[in-house]
């Protein structure tokens, strides 16, 4: 059951993020002060309106797009750079390896909060900034996975043979090693998407997310919190969306990892 349910739910979410904004008959940015704080289930505004009278459903849908886009882009970016760093380090050995992997350790030791605060203070809150911050945070994870896998693959006979026969470096890395480390890297990626949504929405909550007035779920929770006692739904609704999305993607990630990651399969 679970095998089918999760991909279906995840696809439903992706679909919602892509076409949702088109289906909701409201502009997520359109203000209508007269109709502010419309309650849940209003005929025109299914999920009510916020303090500007903006339609909450439209903002949730637009927010879904932002959350998904930033999480996926950040994951792809982190994967590209992380794999590059990890593979280069493991393949070249020697001082390059030391510098690269220690660099990764240093990146991990920088508190994520200060990283986000400084990058956002320098560049201002925006979608590219958010993607950049998230990518920076997740690069070390990918680098470590790629590094460990490359070390293992490199010692296998077919790679050693290729090296002895003088195959060019490029073709060994791209042709032999990369395909063989891809499964665990993809498994890591599927888990990272959920984490990226989690961390990204947290940054939105702290006001370090995207440029207002564009909606982000974390920002909606933070705004809703101000009206928590009189209009609790403004906080509860985006909160539920954040939680269920992370839940779907992390469960999907777990499933994919079980399928792709050889280490997982061995331990079963």
């Amino acid at each position: 059951m679970r095998r089918y349910l999760l991909p279906v739910l995840a696809s439903a979410f992706v679909l919602f993020a892509i076409v949702g904004p088109l289906l909701v008959p409201h502009d997520p940015l359109a203000q209508n002060i007269v109709k502010r704080f419309a309650p849940l289930g209003s005929p025109e505004h299914l999920l009510g309106t916020d303090n500007f009278g903006r339609d909450v459903l439209a903002r949730i849908a637009a927010g879904a797009q932002v959350e998904l886009f930033t999480a996926v882009s950040a994951t792809l970016l982190a994967m590209t750079f992380g794999v590059l760093i990890g593979m280069t380090a493991a393949y070249s050995r020697g001082p390059t390896e030391g510098v690269l992997m220690r660099g990764v350790d240093v990146m991990l030791s920088i508190p994520p909060l200060i990283l986000a605060l400084l990058v956002v203070a320098a560049l201002g809150p925006s979608v590219p900034t958010l993607i950049g911050v998230l990518a920076l945070l997740f690069i070390p994870g990918f680098a470590r996975v790629a590094y460990g896998q490359t070390l293992e693959v490199r010692n296998r006979q077919f790679v050693e043979a290729a090296i002895i026969f003088g195959a060019p470096r490029r073709s060994i890395i791209l042709g032999q090693i990369l395909p063989n480390i891809m499964a665990p890297v993809l498994a890591q990626a599927s888990l990272t998407i959920a984490s990226a949504i989690l961390v990204g929405s947290g940054l939105g909550y702290l006001g370090l997310g995207i440029r207002p007035p564009a909606p982000s779920w974390g920002g909606m929770v933070a705004d809703g919190q101000r009206y928590m006692s009189s209009h609790p739904m403004l906080m509860i609704v985006p909160g539920i969306f954040v939680v269920s999305t992370i839940l779907i993607f992390s469960a999907l990630g777990d499933t994919l990892r079980a399928l792709w990651d050889p280490r997982e399969q061995r331990s079963r």
């Binding site: 240093v106 909060l113 200060i114 400084l118 203070a121 974390g218 909160g239 992390s250």
Partner: protein, 315 residues
């Protein structure tokens, strides 16, 4: 490599990393726009060049960058973070008082989270309901961001039911109230720890249980209970402890969302406010404490791991 040599090497690398983080942050805060003197004078209409110059000199900002960096490193070597721009007090004292709050949160949350995690983890391999709890509830708990959980607790338990205070800190001189204040933040922080630890405990126990010597122990006629307590659990806890240490390492700087929700004066909120007015000494000091804590815990975990498994140290 011998374990002592290994430990010494790890420590040396750790120190270099702390210094690297300091240099990176030092340079990064210079690149970021915004000036500490201007931020400080933002409520005053007339900012004369004279006062700006006087304050810059007082803060040592008139010196060239390399000189300031060297001076910062010299101070850091003596564990002196300088004087906070906005508070005119030693940054170390301010960070110290905030660190206590963060440490209290982290230690309590880690304690309850790890204890609950081990309990539920071992319960899950023994009973059906425990199994269901950990495998169904665990992922859900891990999907709830701390700020969402915290806000919901405030809404439900404080505003609607009125059971617990919504936030703030009570002085330690009033221990009952002090602890009452910490219930919701600690609950918020410890839930995901418990879920992670339960998962790790569960996998670890399942793995140990399948090993030959466990079966031998049972064959010798020792009771299932005794075997579980004395042999399985004890051996299964090694990876649990490693994971716990790593969870703890990142936690000290990651409490900011919970501090925000519950209005607690911890290190995270200090860092946020220090960055917003560019209080360089406070930023550097707070980053030092958070990164040093993280690095130290990692080294301890590595050395501990090497101690338990000498092969790791040789690698």
């Amino acid at each position: 490599m011998e374990l002592t040599t290994y430990s010494a090497k790890r420590l040396a690398i750790g120190l270099v990393m702390v210094v690297c983080v300091q240099v990176i942050i030092f340079l990064a805060v210079q690149v970021v726009p915004g000036d500490p003197v201007e931020a400080m004078m933002s409520e005053t209409g007339n900012i004369s060049p004279e006062i700006v110059a006087a304050l810059r000199e007082q803060f040592g900002l008139d010196q060239p960058l390399p000189v300031r960096l060297l001076e910062h490193m010299r101070e850091l070597f003596m564990l002196d973070f300088g004087t906070s721009f906005q508070y005119s007090q030693p940054a170390a004292a301010i960070i110290g008082s905030r660190l206590l709050v963060s440490l209290e949160l982290v230690v309590l949350s880690a304690f309850f989270g790890i204890a609950a995690g081990i309990f539920f983890g071992s319960w899950s391999v023994q009973t059906r309901i425990g199994n269901w709890l950990v495998s169904a509830l665990g992922p859900i708990i891990l999907s709830v961001p701390g700020y969402v959980a915290g806000s919901f607790f405030v809404l439900a338990l404080s505003l609607w039911l009125g059971w617990l205070p919504a936030g703030g800190m009570a002085p330690i001189s009033d221990p009952v109230e002090h602890l009452r204040r910490l219930v919701l933040p600690v609950l918020t922080l410890s839930l995901p720890i418990a879920a992670t630890i339960a998962k790790v405990t569960r996998y670890s126990i399942l793995e140990v249980r399948n090993q030959d010597w466990v079966r031998t122990s049972r064959a010798y006629g020792f009771s299932a209970r005794r075997t579980f307590r004395r042999d399985i659990l004890r051996n299964a806890l090694t990876p649990v402890l490693t994971v716990s240490a790593l969870e703890l390492g990142g936690l000290i700087g990651a409490t900011v969302l919970v501090e925000r929700v519950f209005n607690l004066p911890g290190l995270g909120s200090l860092l946020v406010s220090a960055v917003s007015v560019r209080d360089y000494p406070l930023i550097q000091g707070a980053v030092f404490v958070i990164s040093a804590f993280y690095i130290a815990i990692n080294i301890a975990a590595d050395i501990g791991y090497g101690f338990l498994d000498p092969r790791a140290a040789r690698r």
